[in-house]
Symmetry: D2
Subunit: 350 residues, 4 copies
Amino acid sequence: MPNKLAVGILGATGIVGQRFIQMLEHHPWFEVSWLAASDRSESRPYAEAARWRLKTAIPPAVARMTVSPAKPEGAPKIIFAALDAAIARKLEPQFAAAGCAVVSNSSALRMQADVPLVIPEVNADHIRLIETQSWRRTSGGFAVTNPNCSAIGLVLALAPLHKRFGLETVMAVTMQAVSGAGYPGVASLDILGNVIPYIANEEEKMEEETQKLLGTLNGNGVIPATFAMSAQCNRVAVEDGHTESVSIRLKKKAEPEEIIAAWNDFRAEPQHLRLPSAPEQPVMYLNAADRPQPRFDVDSGGGMTTTVGRLRRCNVLDWKFTVLSHNTIRGAAGAALLNAELLKAKGYLG
Amino acid sequence: MPNKLAVGILGATGIVGQRFIQMLEHHPWFEVSWLAASDRSESRPYAEAARWRLKTAIPPAVARMTVSPAKPEGAPKIIFAALDAAIARKLEPQFAAAGCAVVSNSSALRMQADVPLVIPEVNADHIRLIETQSWRRTSGGFAVTNPNCSAIGLVLALAPLHKRFGLETVMAVTMQAVSGAGYPGVASLDILGNVIPYIANEEEKMEEETQKLLGTLNGNGVIPATFAMSAQCNRVAVEDGHTESVSIRLKKKAEPEEIIAAWNDFRAEPQHLRLPSAPEQPVMYLNAADRPQPRFDVDSGGGMTTTVGRLRRCNVLDWKFTVLSHNTIRGAAGAALLNAELLKAKGYLG
Amino acid sequence: MPNKLAVGILGATGIVGQRFIQMLEHHPWFEVSWLAASDRSESRPYAEAARWRLKTAIPPAVARMTVSPAKPEGAPKIIFAALDAAIARKLEPQFAAAGCAVVSNSSALRMQADVPLVIPEVNADHIRLIETQSWRRTSGGFAVTNPNCSAIGLVLALAPLHKRFGLETVMAVTMQAVSGAGYPGVASLDILGNVIPYIANEEEKMEEETQKLLGTLNGNGVIPATFAMSAQCNRVAVEDGHTESVSIRLKKKAEPEEIIAAWNDFRAEPQHLRLPSAPEQPVMYLNAADRPQPRFDVDSGGGMTTTVGRLRRCNVLDWKFTVLSHNTIRGAAGAALLNAELLKAKGYLG
Amino acid sequence: MPNKLAVGILGATGIVGQRFIQMLEHHPWFEVSWLAASDRSESRPYAEAARWRLKTAIPPAVARMTVSPAKPEGAPKIIFAALDAAIARKLEPQFAAAGCAVVSNSSALRMQADVPLVIPEVNADHIRLIETQSWRRTSGGFAVTNPNCSAIGLVLALAPLHKRFGLETVMAVTMQAVSGAGYPGVASLDILGNVIPYIANEEEKMEEETQKLLGTLNGNGVIPATFAMSAQCNRVAVEDGHTESVSIRLKKKAEPEEIIAAWNDFRAEPQHLRLPSAPEQPVMYLNAADRPQPRFDVDSGGGMTTTVGRLRRCNVLDWKFTVLSHNTIRGAAGAALLNAELLKAKGYLG
């Protein structure tokens, strides 16, 4: 492993931090060499500091690693960040200013004009915004973000349609898994046998991030896509996998077979570049009348494939369908990891 | 109880049949005197034939009652019907032809031109369609129906707005409880930790029933409301209570306070007539940011009140909000019972 | 209400504190006049400080009440305590020393030699231990406790058998509801679709409390019952209601009908005194082969009745059966409330 | 694949039938060539006849296979049977009489004196009972069975202790997953947020099968083990994985480290023979205080390893601990498959 790049994880003990560790265990390009978390975890062996919630075991090398203070000193040059927004807002700029490539899953910087918000299959070209960041000019550091877990599955399903037919209107209602709220996150007393029709700030993020992701790069910034977009977000008693009931209006007339083909045939830069975490098929249409379902489909493509089903005409807009995406893999750790792989392939990671 | 009206229940052993029995236990006007179910249950004591799934005990008088064959002979003149659609299509006309008032929860006759589909708070006047039924002229019998469990909560929330501001467009995404599928209904292996984005024929029913309910009576029939309407239906791991994420466009401009007042102030004939099963407030707006929720709100008004919350502007249509309604009370047995009470108050039950 | 006794609640914002408020809303003897909770809640209106998790609404008078500091100054003379053990260990003695009757649900003082651990139906005579407390002699204050939520249902089922037939051996395996862990308590990610075979200190509490409760008062203390007792505790995805699989060996030979009669006929001081929260029947045997179940039976007797079922011979000990008890009503707030009612009836509350 | 043995599956559309198909997909020795199910499925392509409930896809070759009538004519010589007991009682002897090796997961023949009930790690020698079967002498056919899903995990945990220390008493309380009841099996309305303290005939099966499995082969039959054994069986809202709270008394004194070593060091014939489905470690002790849990541990050893945890002293017997086992893999399809592999290794499959 001498030629693997050392990476660090900020927020390593949380659910997304754990997914980073899991997904990096056998990664061909990156190797975890540094972990940081809150003060409470500092200086403790990772296996003791983290309440590990995944089904695979903690990689032994990581289990023994000591949790470092969340400071750039001593940290490697590539940092995966899985911090709460409030903390990220403070720490991520510090790491970027110290010369790190900050590949963040947090919402803190996503909507900042000079920070790329990227899904490699959708808007890989936006990474060029890095060049406009002041950190880049001073220390060489920069920050790249991926979208919210509820936006990413939707945008993967929308992107091929936007490209071929043009989106005019998008309405999405989500049924989101509890792992999206981290750990301990949602109390069992709140969600057992229940639906919670509210997730703080989630609808706002889904709406604005979708438009930034499908926007166009123009000199120094992104011009958001102009379609109308409305989201409603609900929490349900599912462990992993955000399901969304979506309705859209398209600019161009489309037949159902064309729409399904647009999804199934969709390939983009991560597939062409054969990035290690890129799924063979980013979007997959399922023909069964009652799919996708979290139980059966959430792990499609190792959790990196968005599954879509139930395409049918909508009496109000043009089409309606169901989207499912793994919220802590494609919607969080896997999203950031694919961003890092794209950055590496494009020469941004030295 | 000498002056109570004898009523029978068709499909008495199912989940909705059980709710009928529960709601009729202390009813001031009606008294259960006859129960029928499938051949398998015939001639057995009810307590043995039914797999009782409610939290209150079987009323002792009903427990001992023998299950009758599902034939009009020997049945009382008022029949609550909780049958599967396929069976209802055959049996309900037989009972109406035999002179019975068939108050049905089944979908079989709902969309038939001369059969009233009624929510007493919404379109009580539609019961006049009874007079156009051929059964009425021959035997005196007739049939009245209530809507699907997913439509009724929605329509109760829409009706006050339609009246004051005019509906132009309605989109609804449901998260429906398992009790809506009857018993045994949804297998636990299908729904534990899962979302099923499909319920057979449910979206079609919601769409057409909503438009018939909010339509206008015109001579011999109902002219459906003309707003555009689109529904998406999902099953979630909730016992009782259908939650719906709704977006609407109104014809007239409305302020949020006016919309909330339209809901909270809504009263109609069942309230004016003080029908025994009518909730004091048919629609109640909850101010908390994260309500309504099945766990807390499903039993509002004894399960007969529809709760609404989260009113906020929609970027695509005008407004979005969340609706919750008890699917086996307001959405089934309570709906039919309120219909029967309306019929009684209007002199249709002799 | 001028003749009601003013009571205060320590730990008023937690799940058990909320149950106290709910059960005291229409209480004939007691009236909530004072609420205290952690510093974070102090000086805020209760409705704002508490994250109310019950299905009934906060009583309006309580909703407006300001949360007081958790200090004896200004507190009424009767205090219901629903604190974490660590805090209770510090605060409960302060209140008792200040002259309060502390009726506690906490484990802090339960096993202290001079503190009565009481289930009024089981060992009402143990309240005489109060007289041995030093607080009693100085300020007039005292402390009385009720058992752990997992012990109380079991002991109610055991007491009538112990009395008639003598217990020699008891083995119990619990399947405990999440509300037993308070709020937020068990994380949804930990329990959805899962069983957790561990609850810290729970088995130890069940074992020692059962023996103290069924012990005999002897001068200055309780001599624990001498039967062998072993418990295993599991957490399951149930909202309310601890289910227990129990096996016992009896000293005297008993026929099944005698055992069932011992349960169904069991009445004790709370029933004779007609204490307001006493259930008519403290223990009820259910004949159905598959009961008791939390879904159907947890609210028996307003949550104060322990239900038992499935009595059958055990190949190892003599008998096995299933016990169900509501863990936050009979197992917590209702337990303390019944203790307070007993104290009042016995003249300990002035 | 010319040298793979053709196998058939009786009851191929059920949950266990599906597991057989899944586990046989890449099997080095066996190949599915024939599928049978109920009349309803006959002559239909498997993918259409089965309601596939597993997360991996139906193997394409199987998906296209036509479901055959459940008759020996045309069936291969090795039959995996996953039938309901009532049907198995009729069909399994027909297949054995026709010369088939019937490797059954059904309870029908398990307790028949001349039918081996086998867990290859525990009592591989019992397969010699085959020679006493009349089918064997006439057609060459025979039947071998594996135990109930609740017995197999327990017996794997008990066997190493019985061997080293001798069992005197065993008490087990189960918390069983819904997949153990097949599909559709347990209704969601019955189990969501609930515990059902009853599974028909399950306790009897656990008790008698455990004693036959740990019994000794003696000439023409098995002398059951003589330790006392008592089981209580509950259903919980878990998808896969039976958890059991167990107490035991041993004949010889044992230290905890010796018991744990007995589990962790346990290896038997399947491991020595390197049978393809044999887990490296049949029993694994987990040190964490709160394990095993279905969420994390059910798939240990590909679902073939029984995990054990929480060993501690019992006040009534000697030791108590928790056992977890995958009920449709180790407890059903994997159990039968391992039996078939043992039979093959021993020369019984030609």
